[in-house]
Amino acid sequence: MAARWSLLLGTLTALSLSSCWRNDFAGDQRYAPPDRPRVGPAPRAWIPGDQAKTAPGATPPKGIQNSDNTKSVTPPEPVREQPVDGEDLHTFALPGPVAINVRIAPPRSRLLAERAVVRIDLRAGFTNGLPGLAELVALAVSETADGAAGRPALNAVIQRLGGRLNIEVGAQWTTITAAVPAVSWEEALRAMVERIHQQPLSHAWLASLQDRLIKHKLSEWRIRPALSEADRWVRYGAGSREAIVHAIEDRNLPEVVLFQRRYYRPRNAAVGLWVPGAPKDATFLLERAKAAMIPWRQEPEAPMVGADRKYVPPEGVLWLEGEGEPRVALIVPCSPQTPPSLILGECYSMDGIGGRLGELAAIELGFEPVFQVHELGNFNERFTVYECDLPAARVVKFWETAQAAWRSLGDRPPTGQELRAGLDRARLQLLQRQDHAESWFQATSLRLLRLEPGGPSHDLTALDKLTTPDIAATARQWAKAPLALVVVGGSMPADAPPTFRRGSAAIPSYSRAPQSETEGTEDKAKRYLDLAVKALGEPRLFRGIGGYVAVESLRDEDGLTVQMRTTFRFPDKLERTTEVLGSSISTKVDGTTGRESAGQELRTLTAGEAVNLLHEASRNPVVLIAGYAQGTLRFRYVGQRSRYGRRVALLELIDDTHPRLRMTIDVQSGLPRSVETSSHRPGVGPVQERDYYDDYRRMRGIRVPMHRVSSIDTEPLGIEATFRSFEILPR
């Protein structure tokens, strides 16, 4: 019976969570651990999926038992790779972190400072979680101090050690690199690991980080409009600048904490160490590194919930119209960085001057542009950006020229002269990489994590082995990749091709509204709340609401159906009957106490569970609007957003005692469209919940939504509730 009870509770909780979570919670064996590329022999199995297969009654695996019983973790022994690269590169495959790469650079000159490079590559980027989270978490890791514990921010720690910290967020990757005096590498690694898995973030500090990040972006858009727009497109995809500001502004603490728990974890990481002057035996460094990382490797892992967004590389032309002559930024894919692709890159444009692009431009445009060249993105979503000023009348021609030059690489393989120049410069690039720990880590992490099979390479001999057919084959493949062009400034010609998209170069307005300044924003919110009251009924009807009785049928994407009858009396009395899988569960909550019964089984709810149920029942839009009409709830206006294909006003409940709750109201119809809030799920931690409402029907003079679709975090909308009846109870 106990097992059955557990399954029922698990299923109920899972109704609002994703399939991954459900499977994990219910012991379903479909759970698949993320790909964990290995180098050499496979590490000893310890993944949760294998633990789930442990026979009942078997001795549980050794290790740390998590408080929420999600899974236990046993750090395994490392598997050592054979050293390569002149016995100076040593790779140790560990299940968590994925791998530690150790390099003991030979002394090159006593004139060069002995600086160690400690790098942690995390598989977490813009395509994971909600937009803005990857950057905010990275900023928080760098800048958050813990005053109570006397711990300075990571950036300050590295500076005090005499080093510098660099954090780079890409589409799928975040790299955290500290270059410190060689003697301080261990301290730097310990500090990095500590901040990566633990952060004393507060609401106020997060708000200040959001403010900094948004202001930084606004400043970049002003100072380097074309390049920053290209960067935005590469990272965030085709959206507006305004949407980026809103995305960052709309993130909250539970989302940030959860993102960090999910993605900043050992199994998502590769650690690289370059420690000049260390003992020749690399295991010395490995043991010290392992000791520094113990707390992180023992950290309980948050289940992966929600699907990551597919990365869509930029394609086509985006013209942001504005004052002055246009500045263009041509975005050319440059990964994977294999030896043939390095040569082809040189053939296309010799680092911004000449090449096929320069030659064709000289013919088609009558002059040869000189580009400023930048590289955007990281790992296998890298792009070269060629930036220059160009008269508006020539932009269309330039775009055609750039594409023709790009396609010509496939149609007409590089000539002998082009190959010779390309080969020489590609060789120079590889030679330069030998001196830089950064590019070396990039290469080894990619190889270890199998993002770019075969590259990028430091192997100079690979260039000598290339044949013309090899390069021609790569060229044909390469030339199929799409290009993109950002144009900032000037006006798009009326006869521009239909593939040209028009936008505005205007910088989005942004003014941070401090939490305490609610007066103006509260008045603004009233405008939309009154609109909602009018759309749903009359003020007097809402003033008379004292609760509701709802009968609903919940159905998840796998077809599991649950019937629920909920009687909710404002503010803290709830009775619910749930029928699922042939069983019936009764729940009763009164304030912070509650109990649940299923057949003969009786269970007392914790205060947190009771409050969660009340919180869930009270976030129906009818309840929220009634609270406003009765003067018990206050909202502040956040801004307007485009959501669900509509323009909506985003309002936030003014309430410091509960997690943030936001409601959107359609600015045209006045109908509440969604309610977003966060809650704490046992075993998961904080999750972001979003309910979308529609199918409004009139019940005793008040229009109530009879259909709701719910989502958790980034999970696509999948849990559907259809109300069979919704009866208003008088006060």
Binding site: R108, L111, L112, R160, A179, G366, F367, L428
Partner: protein
């Protein structure tokens, strides 16, 4: 946030001098020599398979016509573009740059350093003769093609950079107050004088003579063989080096009205103290240490003292040297939301804090941390041979002397030397206070 304010019109001014980790550059690893045409070379051998060459030419503000403050940058960029006869179409000619890239090399990266402009190039060992020839040709042009667009762009960029400078109005008043007369920030004028080939060539010939060039080359080459190659290529001054006194300014011209600065912030004050004019490495390192001690990122003395004195949100930034090497140490103090005037407690607290530093002795722990931070700033780029080349070039440009001999500068900055400099720089009598003017 506490920060050290970088100078906006000379990006590299705030970059500290290089400190090599141990000892100096010795004969096995480096060599300084002059070729027959007057060019100065510092070769440093390191374990690398590529060569990094920094070539600098003087470009001080005093070298440039007053009405065309961006002309040196324009001349520098035009010098990379080849002669007018190579011009094709309307864009700048690119034959020289293409030849450099095909050497092969990374191409010329434009650099600015302490009143010098130049290029940084990276290439394999085998390309030394070709790159050397191309860099020599760059200083021997008969004309400078496409100078006008370069000048327009350089002046525009300079003005934009300056107009983004925080507290611009107060900085102008500070200079006016110190130097007397009209407050004027070099470079912040409209381009009143037309850029002509003749004026560009005049500046080019004055500053691009080989005997005024600094060359730092690092890489895995054979020093003796490389020296022979360079002596051969730089053997004849094809254009007679025109010995110019470094202090000879171009004749001043009529200035255009300066654009209006944004209104002062009511919560910010500036305080300037004159820096010593010596440019020896130890003095420069001591100045860096003082800046770090006063307002370092993590443990600045001034923000700590001012916060303890009842200004919990105060921010302190320091510009040094301002506006040029040998200028002033400028402390910017912001107490967000306040309205500052001469009777403000913050003014008194700041004066008291500076008096204490001037009087000494310095807090030993804080001084040690400041030394660590200063050392870290100096060595932060020294993990690769290119960083070494850049920093040696900067040290050369900043101090005016070849970076050789004992380069372990920190070891020579004793607490006594620090205190002596702090007492000299922060002496009460030499301070200039600028308060916000509220409109």
């Amino acid at each position: 946030m506490i920060r050290r304010r970088p100078e906006v019109w000379a990006r590299w001014l705030a970059t500290p001098v290089v400190v090599l980790t141990a000892g100096g550059v010795d004969a096995q690893e480096s060599k300084f020599f002059r070729t027959h045409d007057g060019s100065s070379f510092l070769l440093v051998k390191v374990d690398s398979r590529v060569v990094h060459w920094i070539n600098l030419q003087p470009a001080r503000i005093a070298d440039q016509p007053e009405g065309l403050p961006g002309l040196a940058v324009a001349v520098g960029r035009a010098s990379l573009s080849g002669g007018a006869t190579e011009r094709a179409g309307e864009g700048p000619p690119l034959r020289w740059e293409k030849a450099l890239r095909r050497a092969p090399s990374t191409g010329a990266e434009f650099v600015e350093a302490h009143g010098y402009l130049g290029v940084a190039v990276t290439f394999p060992n085998g390309s030394i003769p070709l790159v050397a020839e191309l860099l020599r040709v760059r200083t021997q042009r008969a004309e400078l093609a496409g100078i006008e667009p370069f000048a327009t762009e350089a002046i525009r960029a300079r003005r934009e950079r300056l107009l983004r400078t925080p507290h611009l109005g107060m900085l102008r008043r500070l200079l006016g107050s110190i130097k007397g007369g009209e407050a004027f920030l070099p470079g912040l004028t409209s381009a009143t004088d037309k850029v002509t080939q003749a004026r560009a060539l005049e500046l080019y010939r004055n500053t691009y003579s080989t005997n005024r060039a600094l060359n730092v080359i690092t890489g895995g080459f054979d020093i003796q063989a490389t020296e022979e190659v360079l002596r051969r290529i730089y053997s004849v001054a094809s254009r007679a080096a025109e010995p110019q006194s470094e202090s000879t300014p171009v004749a001043p011209r009529v200035r255009a009205p300066e654009p209006a600065a944004p209104p002062d912030r009511s919560d910010t004050l500036l305080l300037a103290c004159p820096l010593p004019t010596q440019r020896d490495p130890v003095t420069l390192a001591t100045i860096d240490l003082l800046v770090e001690y006063l307002a370092g990122d993590a443990d600045g003395f001034l923000p700590d003292r001012l916060r303890a004195a009842g200004h919990p949100r105060v921010e302190v930034a320091i510009r040094a040297p301002f506006p040029e090497p040998g200028g002033y140490l400028v402390v910017e103090v912001t107490d967000p939301g306040s309205k500052l005037d001469s009777s403000s407690k913050l003014v008194t607290a700041l004066a008291g804090a500076l008096d204490d530093v001037a009087k000494g002795p310095a807090d030993a722990i804080r001084l040690s941390r400041a030394a660590t931070a200063a050392r870290a700033a100096r060595t932060q780029f020294l993990h690769d041979p290119r960083g070494l080349a850049v920093l040696l070039a900067h040290q050369w440009a900043r101090s005016g002397s070849v970076p050789s001999g004992d380069l372990a500068i920190e070891a020579r900055v004793t607490p006594v030397a620090f205190q002596a400099l702090a007492s000299e720089v922060l002496a009460t009598a030499t301070r200039t206070l600028i308060l916000p003017e509220l409109r």
